[in-house]
Symmetry: none
Subunit: 282 residues, 2 copies
DNA sequence: CACCAAATGTAGTAAAATTACAACTTTGAT
DNA sequence: ATCAAAGTTGTAATTTTACTACATTTGGTG
């Protein structure tokens, strides 16, 4: 919470001398954060303990702590918030808004994600005989991306866009198989059915989806991402990005679990790509 | 300027003990701002003057002043720094690092992107007779995602994973067609060839790629994204996310340009999906 | 106007940060 | 290999800063 606002609000509660301090701080906040308690006391024409009491009244531990809060409030730059795009926005505005909203959503997602489940899922993936990634619509491209990442790990990976192929693939699942399903809403019927089929065939089903959704209920493990989606645009945007970041997290966890030698392997995969590319200059 | 980034950047300049301090601060910035110099010194296993010297090296007046800067950086909109994943990181650490690095990269991307070109590309897209999205490897999923978005707009969209199909598709290009190519490096041979083919057939080629790369040189318009990629993992991560966000920006620009009535249309597309989903409770 | 409670200040104390200097490492040149 | 010089780090003393306990003042009330 912004401490400058708090000072203005609580002004009525302050005593006479405390108000002097408040006035000085509100008038010269930049000076205040660089002053010692003695200097500020002199500026406000009160004693040092009064300044100290003033700080405590604002629920800070003391003067240094108060300065910290003040400094934070003064820090320029609005923290990223979900700002919705407006009809009259120009390119500069909507570009900034979308980048900022995406970052804000990632922050929310980061805080909502359960690390223990991530750890558990990484466990599963490293031990899996076969990993399948499925998603539909916007989530199809996330599954596609997961395929690309895990394919480099030299583990059997499966990815289909086609629902029928997805079903068939799940029919053939066995004990050590892991099926990862992506869906923002968790309400896509075909995907829920796929989860059921996979589970019936003893596969472990990991859902990257909304908590308490129909899909979540069919999964062995649910990695839920709470992402506020801007519904004005009628398109999934931030949810997708959060899912992809989670894929990165899982892939990273995977490589870390596999250790150093494995990473050498990844380097080789990357080096092989070199032939398909034009050389870098310098 | 964000002091956390400054610490990361100057890490090479620091002495051994100073680096100890840097590590502790980067690992626990929130703890650091609430610690005294003695506590921080003990945590870092160095002496108090070392901490003080560390602060001065970062152009602050001393420890309290440094804390102020740190507090501001933490409160500031961009508390995110590109922190590389370390071999010994646990799930909590690598999850946070990846989310934060992704956000940091988005911030860099946002600042590097040229709004005028975005505007110009949106122009092109709204007037295009046919839009094609192509990418290979990790960028294939980005193209896939773009397909999904623009398909909703009821414009002819084309997407292929297969290089041969991509080439054939570009062979058939005509005047009003726009080909959008995704490639982080801009050095993938097949994709550069596709750009050439498309241009030879009068299509406008938009490259979402690195500046001054072979691909960029073949494009009519280049939307360059400067994204620092963590090469330790040997996988494209942040670059992809930045590209996707750019797709969101373009899609948003597209819908805004088309106006209100068009947005009604999008809503209808979304509503049609409802039948493929389980109803939401409440 | 005398009393009490709240507010404020004074002086002493504790804590924190900084300085000066000494010991120890590293580097490079002979 | 040896030594000097430069750079790094720690110890101890000093200074600055913040806090506490207590005394004084102020303002309001019976």
């Amino acid at each position: 919470m912004n401490i400058l606002e708090k000072i203005t609000q609580n002004k009525a509660v302050f005593s006479k001398s405390e108000r002097k301090v408040a006035d000085i701080i509100l008038a010269h906040p930049q000076t205040a954060i660089h002053s010692s308690i003695a200097t500020l006391a002199k500026m406000s024409d009160v004693s040092e303990p009064t300044v100290n009491r003033f700080c405590r009244r604002l629920d800070t531990k003391g003067y240094p702590d108060f300065k910290l809060h003040l400094a934070q409030s003064l820090a320029n730059g609005t923290p990223y918030v979900n700002r919705h795009v407006d009809e009259n926005d120009g390119p500069q505005e909507y570009t900034n808004k979308i980048f900022e909203s995406t970052m804000a959503s990632l922050e929310v997602a980061r805080q909502s994600v359960d690390v223990n489940i991530i750890n558990r899922v990484v466990d599963l993936l490293t031990q899996a005989q076969k990993i399948s990634f499925f998603g539909l619509g916007a989530s199809a491209s996330v599954a596609h991306d997961a395929l690309n990442k895990f394919f480099r790990f030299n583990v059997p990976v499966v990815y289909f866009e086609d629902v029928v192929m997805q079903r068939m693939s799940c029919m053939n699942c066995t004990d050590g198989d892991v099926v990862v399903l992506f869906s923002h809403t968790g309400r896509t019927k075909s995907l829920v059915e796929i989860a059921q089929i996979a589970r019936r065939n003893d596969a472990t089903v990991v859902g990257i989806t909304s908590q308490d959704s129909p899909l979540a209920n069919e999964c062995s493990y649910v990695l839920s991402l709470e992402v506020p989606e801007d519904t004005d645009m009628y398109m999934p945007m931030a949810s997708r990005i959060a899912q992809l970041t989670l894929v990165d997290v899982l892939a990273t966890g995977f490589t870390l679990r596999r250790g150093n030698k494995f990473r050498e392997n990844l380097k080789r995969v990357k080096d092989t790509l070199r032939d398909s590319r034009y050389d870098k200059p310098d």
